[in-house]
Symmetry: C2
Subunit: 320 residues, 2 copies
Amino acid sequence: MTSPTPLQAGATVADLGEFGLIAELVQRFEQGPAVYVGPGDDAAVLRAPKGHVVVSTDLLVENRHFRRDWATATDVGHRAAAQNISDVNAMGGRATALTVGLALPADLPAQWAVDLAEGIAAEAALVGASVIGGDITRGSEIVVAITVLGECEVAPVLRSGARAGDVLAIAGRQGWAAAGLAVLGRGFRSPRAVVVAHQRPEPPYDAGPAAAKAGATAMIDVSDGLVADLGHLAAGSGVAIDVRSDAFTLDDPLVAVGAALGVEPLQFVLGGGEDHPLVATFPAGTELPEPFRPIGSVTAGEGVTVDGEIYEGDPGWTHF
Amino acid sequence: MTSPTPLQAGATVADLGEFGLIAELVQRFEQGPAVYVGPGDDAAVLRAPKGHVVVSTDLLVENRHFRRDWATATDVGHRAAAQNISDVNAMGGRATALTVGLALPADLPAQWAVDLAEGIAAEAALVGASVIGGDITRGSEIVVAITVLGECEVAPVLRSGARAGDVLAIAGRQGWAAAGLAVLGRGFRSPRAVVVAHQRPEPPYDAGPAAAKAGATAMIDVSDGLVADLGHLAAGSGVAIDVRSDAFTLDDPLVAVGAALGVEPLQFVLGGGEDHPLVATFPAGTELPEPFRPIGSVTAGEGVTVDGEIYEGDPGWTHF
């Protein structure tokens, strides 16, 4: 990859034009060995050695999923890519390629789009995935539409396979992004650790394939909220799930934010989304793969309980 | 597939909510045999027997790519799917699956979204492709972000393989959608044939794989404009292309619209996009596969000429 040229200071998206902007972004997208045809043709072509292709699409809309005064464009790029790659992770797969569709206001600084692209490419590079194509058009607000492709070494892990008697386990941080969002929402920028957790989640990308190989029966990533997403898993599997609240260490930043905002810190853990940890169920007796740790159990029935009780807090985010 | 239930009259997107709307749309997406996991999990999983996956993403934004008073939601769905599937066609591939990302205003009638989904699904069904996933979120304007996946039986046909001496050929209608857009732009609804051509393009979906098998050296679909898109092919291949204007029959509706609007009808053919015909180059002497017909030639040099002259008209659409 050639070293990208700096943009003319103050140039807008309209100044560069569609093809000028595409050229700027494409030189920032390194193409890995799985790419047969990268950006620039009618379509991209990916080498797919496995018999299954995993696909997921997610949209981020400005002022709904991100605010330009709360996160840099690079942060938004990292987060947009992370939430998509996490969906492949939650199937037990590995992401191989992304496409990026952008609707951009004409007066948006072109540097913002370039920084966004660099964030997407950097996050994709964490798992060895390439940005292989996309589309740019004018819109009245910023929309980032990412589609991720991936592959599975073993059969994909669905939401529907949990069985009574299984152990419920989690891999990755939970509650930090929600605490960060709460802090930003009150006009603060600290504790910095939770703000950064909101701006750039760090999903446990190796945990998905590890869970699949270890025989996970069901899996989902926590994007909307722990209780909300476990609700999807319970419904998909036709089981009941109980979460033990004492399985969660309430990390110092969560306690600090809770104290400052007058919020029970466990609410960040149970209701928070956007950290993108994985929650998976395993047959009893399974040696849990790193970094999974047990947080509850699966029983016959339906719905999600916390310590045997219906959870009364906010279960998570809804889009309308 | 169960028969979809009718919506409550007057319900908005916000009335149904994210999951309610998703449930309405998903029951309209029939899943073909290539789908291993359809909508409803973290990601979809597609069976991919071939070693290559073709991928393309396109966005449509309200009032930029479509107007709700010029086209029904079903039309918009057909067109959004068609322009994506056409990109796979232009690689010589066949579309197998689509994902659909939607940003929708909360007060949008839910019926509009349902009709859009039915249009997308119906167009996809023309090539045997399934809608296997997507995302819905709130936005201040409608954005339809489609990603299409496909497969190639033979090596994909790129934009870069045209050689001096090749024959230039086209498959499909050209200029009709542009004439339709011109008519709509002046507030008219007829001739109906060109208005419908704009609302629902009919790309020649069998022509792409046929061209690939016949040994096409380069191929592109006309989405921005004939001269503009041939310019991409010429630049990609490092050749010059000459189009013979007398190779085009000026169909009656184009002549009628030209006369009514005071426009030379050949301009619709040379500058118009969105009909999504394929233009391809073949080695001299190749028996052109149906429905390709010769329209010009490839020579050493660069750029696109019409009857040996630089084209002075509008070459096509730009996005900023």
